[in-house]
């Protein structure tokens, strides 16, 4: 299990859980489709993290990327 911010770029990974108690952030992640069981690909880290999931792309900051566990 790894934190999303540390994984390799371009490798498909599956979200397994969250590392945050922030209810607003959790709700937002769920709305963006970032929930357990979903496959994602990290595309870049700087200036912001860009994540591809399904047919969409999402940009998040480092703090958010550090609060998602993937496998």
């Amino acid at each position: 299990m790894n934190v999303l911010s540390t994984i390799e770029i371009g490798q498909p990974k599956t979200i397994v859980g969250y590392h945050t108690q922030d209810a607003t952030l959790l709700r937002k992640l769920v709305t963006l489709g970032m929930m357990p069981g979903i496959e994602i690909i990290l595309e870049q880290r700087f200036p912001s993290y860009i994540i591809k999931l399904g047919h969409t792309r999402t940009s998040i900051d480092r703090e958010t990327a550090e609060s998602i566990f993937v496998q």
């Binding site: 922030d22 607003t24 952030l25 959790l26 709700r27 937002k28 992640l29 769920v30 709305t31 963006l32 489709g33 929930m35 357990p36 069981g37 979903i38 870049q44 700087f46 200036p47 912001s48 860009i50 047919h55 969409t56 792309r57 999402t58 940009s59 998040i60 900051d61 703090e63 958010t64």
Partner: protein, 486 residues
Amino acid sequence: MNPVVYPEPIEAAIARLEAWLRDLGDRHPFPGYTLSPRSLVLLLLQKDPALWEQLQRDEEQCREVEIEIAVAQNQLHQPLELAIAQTRHQQARMLERVALQQPKSGTQPWAETLHQITVNPITGFPILVVILYLGVYKFVGEFGAGELVDRIESFFEGQINPVVDRFVAQTIPWEPIQDLIGNEYGIITLGIRYATAIVLPVVATYFLMFSLLEDSGYLPRLSLMLDRLFKWIGLSGRAVIPMVLGLGCDTMATIVTRTLETKRERLIATFLLSLAVPCAAQWGVILGLLAQKPAALIFWGGFITAIFLGVGYLTAKFLPGASGGFYMEIPPLRLPKIRNILTKTWVRVKWYFWEVLPLFIWASVFIWFGRLTGIFDLIIRAIEPLTLALGMPKESAPIFLYGFFRRDYGAAGLFDLQQQNLLTGNQLVVAAIVLTLFLPCVAQLQMIVKERGMKIAMAMVLFIFPFAFLTGFIVNFGLTQLGINF
């Protein structure tokens, strides 16, 4: 098609709450809602804020729902809200599998390449600078605020003002009424002239550019590129949109700060908009004023940027609380439809013009009243020592007063003074800096009161007023001491 079926504990809670709602009869907590009972119950289980606010009026009912939530939650190994979302997501994916056939090359290659180069830091930052330079500086600044303003202004000066002045002189026997409509500060000769000749072209070109960026999908990319920089001043990439909008109209941008996540972010954004983000009408005029002196223009731009970042950094450091997180969907880049852009621009310009025209007319009437009663002379005389302290001629005192009614109004007044060659390069720079930092226009002040409350609005006013003058004083002093002449 199968209906969405949630995990057993949730379905059980839904069934019990549905029955409970039905049995309440007259005491139904949401009589006005036309949603199905199942949808209502699902919203309650997800702690929908609007429904819960209504539910909390009845303590007993509130407890009933809370117990059901606790029972369901106890049997689930993940948060209830997440379980609901996941079930829906799975259903959506299943539908997608059944309904969607994806050809081998799904995305258009050019859009994909373009996306990559706009977000890659090596190519992305130069592209960002070029887009802002061409879109904001060249198109809005030089074309809108320069070329178009000049043409419409000279049309007014040459064709309309003389006719109005002659007409009022011939038909109206009282001088005060003549001044209300025509002459130097009349409703038509000043108020309507400023609104149509200065604000309209600037705002129209600005909205055109903004709609283009919006429809092409570039704006979210602008946000993700600048998120780290904005974190430094206590904001997030989300605040890029109100800030760029502020370069068009600060009043509108203050409304848009609503979209920011935390109260702290909204406060910082509103404050920075009021202090250090000049609106298009304002920087358009300043650009025109300093156009012949590139060094002065760069100094002004650099100084205001430094104030923006410096004050932002300090505010973020001393204001308690954490920065909001940044998460944003990045839509694919698309070729905008000209028709949509024109419609959007037209609607926005129309809205803005009718919003702003009465304010200009009121400002004219106010100035007329203030001059007629002599109140303005008193205030101007009180400001004169301040302007002298800034190294400005006394003639510039009215500009600071009129700038209070509308920032751009003041900047436009400065333009008139410069046309008469009354100001040196240094005086122009100091005036431009003070007017940029100065209190926002009346409309924006009203918006701050509305969005942030009277107390915060007053605190901002009490800071910005002395800060603007003090900064002007320091800049003038510094330039004189160092012997710099623009």
